[in-house]
Amino acid sequence: VTKLDDRFEALGRATAPDLWREIKGREPRSPVEPGPTLTRRVGVILLAFAIAGSAFALVSEQWGNDQEPAAPSLLSNGYLYYRVGGGDGGSWWQALAPDGSGGVVFPPDAPINYSDIAWRPDGRRFAFVNYLLGSYGIETAAPDGRDVQRLTDGVNDLWPSWSPDGSKIVFASTRDDPAQNQCTPGDTGSMALLCPTDLYVMDADGRNVTRLTATERPESTPVWSPDGSTIAFTAGTDDGSGTAVFVMNADGTNVRQVSSGGRDFGPSWSPDGSQLAFTAIRNDWGVWAVHADGTGEHLLVGDTGPYAEGPKWSPDGSAIAFVGDPKLVGDDAIGAVLLAMNTDGSSVRLLAQVPRYDIAGDIAWQPVPAGTSPPRIELQPLPYRAVVTDTIDTGLRFPEGVVVGEGAVWVVGSGLDGTGEGDLLRLNRLTGQIEARIRVGSVPGWEFGGAGIATGLGSVWLTGIENAEGPGCCDTIVSRIDPRSNSVAETIHVGPGSDGDVWVDETGIWVLAFASDKPELVLYHIDADTHEVVSSIEIPADWSQTVFDAGGWIWVLGNTDNSDGAPPGTLFQIDPNSDQIVTRFEPAQGASFSMAPSGERLWFFHDGLRALDATAGDEVVGPVDLPSGYFSGGLVADRQGGVWVVSVQGGAENTGVWHVDVTGQIDGHADENPGDEASGIASAFDPETGSIWVVHYEDTVSRLQLYSP
């Protein structure tokens, strides 16, 4: 019989490799440099050359009309094209169909810096500006982004707009100013307007360019009126103090100012030609309207509150699409979203939103003949993407767990001093900014499972222990943190045992502890209102660190004696009303340490990805057909029955993020490598921002933004 100590001595004779040379040459895996940060309103503005960033709409809805057009229009609304961007990366154009479906026109991996889109009046082609280095000029394309044809190659050929009969295109250019370099992208709206462009007209095939204006002041953003007789545009005011909206005859004569001026720009005609909507920065950004004769100027939205700009009248005349602050639809998210409103500024509604990224503008509403539906446009599907958008230094030397709830992201970690003390950090779920650092006397030690932290019932809950210095150990406590005051509001003395995990549901607080006197677990049930322990349930398993609810039951993943060499595991199903173990499920034998409860499914790894039905306990899904080969995955529940599988093994063949739906079908995959920084020891999904928060083994936490079609 070999003694345990002898076995450890035998282990001590194992030959260890000398790793010092590798250590000195090794590039640590993390933390990484922070990703691009959101720059609010960055150049959304007007010219939209500069904006960048890439994103997909996560929210889109049918724009629908709840208001009859003022006058019958000859046109109906087709696809709405718009550009998304807002960081330092690429941008792309998406399209929103009248039925609310969407797709990509120019994908993010296409050459970027397209801007200034305008539909041909028959809705069968659009013009745009290619602002790519070396490819400057105006081009046209079929609605699906194919069949690109070049019309001009001027370095500052900008803002094409078709004549109503489609035979001509008016645009701005510096072609007669040979000294003029490319107008600098990244200027603010008002500065970009200072690019010294004049207005030109050409045939729709790019021939016969004719100069319309030849002034010292900059003229920009021309738009042909619906009847073809006039052109509205932006130009510097006569006193040189700012810009205003002007109208001139289509031949360049009879120029008159129609908006009151200041910082006005970007006019859009109503389909009946009676009004112009435009952006103005007066008190603040806003969308205004004025009659074509310069009378009746009035504010539609913005100016003193949330930001709004870039209006485009719908072809049927019933609505105006624009870019604005999500606060206009009661959303506290940061960034610009695609909105629509009635033409009197009422009923602002959300059309498309990309969490954390701006809708960059370049809105263009496809016209189709009245009473018809637009021909179906073959758009590229919106792919799944996963990008690490933030990496935050927590200042915790070893963060242990993360949860999302009660309006924030919460990260907990203990110190290195052996006292069990630690900090709970409150992070802004959008920016990752640390909003509070709360010292807690006893925080959960490191573990694989539920991490000893939960949110619910208006609080954040942490397990911990006290009385650890006596001959035995210890008493389990729960610290309740009030998210309003960001402080420890209460310490609940739960009972004997050392901390395991905590879970909160409407029936109360569930605390899993290691019993002190025997190799068992104790599950304490604490009343949701009184915070008194109402029962304790003995769990016949000698280790576990996970308690959670799913399908109306409480579950504990524990072990049973198992000699077949597989990691043991049994799921104990507990009735939250009777506090009795109802049954146990053996399929969890060999289950991974992390289980992901998601709606009515319990996801886990055991010879592949599988799920139990949390109501019946049967194994209903799996193994899921994930790619073969070495696979490493963290499971992050989407809370709707599905699960995200994060696989980020450095150098592995299968890396990326998969989404598996409630039936076990893989319905999304992001090839983009989320990087080593997405691997970690704990993770949590935030459904409101579509992101996964990942805690690393040392002092950082990252946000992995998921982009779904």
């Binding site: 070999t2 490799p17 090794r26 895996r29 242990e400 490191w446 694989f448 992390s594």
Partner: protein
């Protein structure tokens, strides 16, 4: 600049000293913890590489490196979703020599909870007293004592052997 560079060299020398003193023990402990020599090597190398880059920002480098290495290995195990099946016969196909009693020990360690496994490995394989085990695990001595006691009891059952509970 010179002084900064001097300090960086000092820290590198200190970490090399820690590696020379602790590296083998740390690797063996992680082998016992993870059951996989590749995970053990990666965790040791990554922890020291992190420490080197952080330089003077680490106040207690010895504890820091130990804890970081265990966290890295733990993260790796979690990433894999389960104990690496190759750990069933550690050393057989990797060129690392393990005696039979040690191999059996590692097989038995697989059936402990991660926390129990870490506690028993840090105490028995790395030789740390309870106070230091608690610090490395971010726990308290009392809790470590419970995990150790349970771990030993379970190992005794699994290995059918004597364990003088000292």
């Amino acid at each position: 600049m010179a002084r900064t560079r001097e300090r960086a060299l000092d820290r590198t020398r200190e970490l090399e000293r820690i590696y020379r003193e602790h590296g083998d023990r740390m690797w063996r402990s992680l082998l016992a913890f993870a059951g996989n020599p590749d995970v053990a090597s990666d965790a040791v190398a990554e922890a020291f590489a992190q420490a080197l880059r952080r330089g003077g920002a680490i106040r207690e480098p010895e504890r820091w490196v130990w804890r970081a290495a265990f966290r890295i290995a733990a993260g790796e195990l979690k990433e894999r979703g389960r104990f690496d099946p190759r750990g069933e016969h550690p050393g057989h196909d990797r060129g690392y020599v393990l005696e039979e009693p040690a191999r059996e020990l590692i097989a038995a360690l697989r059936q402990l909870s991660p926390k129990q496994r870490a506690a028993v490995v840090l105490h028995h394989a790395a030789g740390y007293p309870l106070r230091d085990v608690a610090a490395i695990l971010g726990s308290t001595q009392g809790a470590v004592k419970v995990h150790l006691s349970r771990a030993r009891s379970r190992l005794r059952d699994l290995l059918s052997e004597e364990d003088e509970d000292t």
